[in-house]
């Protein structure tokens, strides 16, 4: 497992309409980990992910991705760095088929047909539930299917980091298990991928995350609930540090 710091947030503060949403957030996310960000509604989970994607303006702070200043990268150029994003509301484009939806970010990034085919094959391997849906319209999905499709689309372009905003929200228990299995499967298949999952109800996540971060009123703090996931013989480093 590759343990380099992939994404580092330093004293990141964000205001939305002059109300502070994130307050001096500090976090280091490493490759190969599944990280859960748990917090109540309105705590700043979605804003945290949108900040990483460049969709909101920072008031202060710095974000480094693979050591490079992410603030100098335009929002629309961040996907190309290998960051995939699945927003909370499943936003499949309704006039395109699921397959077209999945291919779109890769095509926009300028990948060749062969490369896109390869990513699609990998994605379908991990999220096998998508296979029968490929030909369907983006408008014709149930909530759970939409979550799966959004995961798939994030995976298509997110070769290094994927951000999943409340994927378990509204999933039936059976589907939630399927979704967790897909995430674990993904970790096996792509051991260097860093996965960030937000959730308001931490218990839904079960043993999926390697690390859990709590977010409350825009402040992030680390909780290492699942120490076993890191391995008992590696307690010397804390893969995630958060302080405010």
């Amino acid at each position: 497992m590759n343990n380099d710091i992939l994404l580092q947030l330093d004293h990141v503060s964000v205001d939305i309409v002059r109300a502070p949403i994130l307050r001096r957030v500090h976090a280091e996310l490493r490759s190969g980990h599944i990280i859960a960000v748990v917090g109540r509604n309105g705590a700043g989970k979605t804003t945290l992910l949108r900040t990483i994607m460049g969709l909101v303006k920072l008031k202060e702070g710095q974000i480094l991705f693979e050591g490079r200043d992410l603030l100098r990268v335009a929002a629309h150029s961040r996907a190309r760095l290998g960051i995939g994003y699945a927003p909370q509301e499943r936003v499949m484009f309704p006039t395109l088929s699921i397959e077209e939806n999945l291919r779109l970010p890769c095509q926009v990034a300028g990948m060749s047909k062969a490369q896109v085919d390869e990513r699609l094959e990998m994605t379908l391997d991990v999220v096998a539930q998508l296979k029968p849906m490929l030909g369907r319209s983006g408008a014709a999905l149930s909530g759970g299917q939409g979550k799966m499709a959004a995961l798939g689309r994030a995976l298509m372009i997110g070769s290094k980091l994927i951000l999943l905003d409340e994927p378990f929200q509204g999933l039936a228990p059976a589907l939630a298990t399927e979704y967790s299995n897909a995430l674990k499967n993904l970790q096996l298949r792509m051991p260097d991928l860093c996965i960030v999952v937000t959730e308001s109800n931490g218990s839904l996540l079960k043993d999926v995350p390697d690390h859990v971060l709590h977010i409350e009123r825009g402040e992030l703090s680390a909780v290492t609930r699942f120490a076993t996931a890191v391995g008992p013989d590696t307690p010397s480093y804390l893969p995630l540090e958060a302080h405010s």
Partner: protein
């Protein structure tokens, strides 16, 4: 009522609907992506008409070829659309992320300036360049002799644009990016789409559609100051009745308004002017979101 009048009214209506559709399509298309109701779209119609007429006067005189005339019409429209669309886009760039009402006012201001510019360049004398209409000849349809230009060319061009645009949006990468930005700008950006560039592309395509409408109208309408204002109001009636951002809806509504207007001309001329608005008011009373829109939160 004789059947001749019925057929005449129908043909007039279809031909007029073709023009209306092109202009309304540009308006609704721009709104879909940029979320701005472009009042200056009426100027694009007027400039498209004048531009095409001027090209026809400069280069089309003495030529008998309908192909040359058609090529001049279309190239005049595209040139005007690209130039004015770019000017408008640069202007609006200064006001992006501001109140939508302010952006609306900016396009209104631009409309007034373009209107005066048009008087400055072409004067107030009516322009009329109808070579292409004669070159394309006439046909007889159930006893009614009708110009091929209005019978076939204008509706044909409108349908061709409709299908071309559908194909462009569904099957090309640029088109799919437009669809993505229209649906959700933020998600599209997160997927790597440069929404600003796509916005510019959309604006120019929409502007060309507006000016194409003007260019195609120019051989059968005399160009006078104020035609832009008439058209923007009418095409707004189409767009509002169809629902903003609805392409197929705009086609059907343009046909509805075009036909009812031309039937009015023959049967109850005193209602001609009020007819499109009557339809709009009726539609908006029953379905405030427009005929073809699914309900969603209001922006303005």
């Amino acid at each position: 009522m004789s059947s001749d009048i019925l057929i005449l009214a129908m043909l007039d209506g279809i031909s007029y609907a073709g023009l209306l559709f092109l202009v309304a399509l540009g308006l609704t298309f721009i709104f879909g992506v940029v979320k701005i109701l472009n009042v200056a779209h009426g100027s694009l119609y007027a400039f498209g008409g004048y531009g095409a007429a001027s090209l026809g006067l400069w280069w089309g005189q003495g030529s008998d070829s309908a192909l040359v005339s058609v090529a001049l019409l279309i190239s005049g429209a595209i040139a005007m659309g690209v130039v004015l669309g770019t000017v408008l886009m640069l202007l609006l760039k200064k006001f992006q992320d501001r109140d939508p009402i302010l952006q609306l006012l900016v396009t209104f201001g631009a409309f007034m300036i373009f209107e005066d510019l048009q008087r400055m360049i072409w004067g107030t004398q009516p322009y009329f360049v109808a070579d292409v209409v004669n070159q394309l000849g006439t046909s007889e349809l159930m006893g009614v002799v009708y110009m091929n230009y209005q019978l076939l060319f204008v509706p044909g061009a409108a349908l061709a644009v409709y299908f071309l645009l559908k194909w462009f949006l569904n099957s090309t990468l640029a088109g799919r990016q437009i669809v993505a930005v229209t649906h959700d700008r933020e998600v599209a950006t997160a997927l790597g789409i440069n929404a600003r560039r796509i916005g510019y592309l959309t604006f120019v395509v929409g502007a060309v559609l507006g000016s194409l409408g003007g260019a195609l109208a120019s051989p059968t309408t005399s160009l006078v100051p104020g035609i832009g204002a008439d058209m923007i109001v009418l095409s707004f009636a189409v767009v509002a009745s169809a629902g903003l951002g609805q392409i197929t809806g705009a086609l059907i509504t343009a046909l509805l308004i075009g036909l009812s207007r031309s039937f009015c001309v023959y049967l109850a001329p005193e209602f001609e002017v009020v007819m499109p608005y009557l339809i709009m008011v009726l539609v908006l009373l029953i379905r405030p979101q427009g005929l073809f829109t699914v309900v969603q939160a209001r922006k303005i």
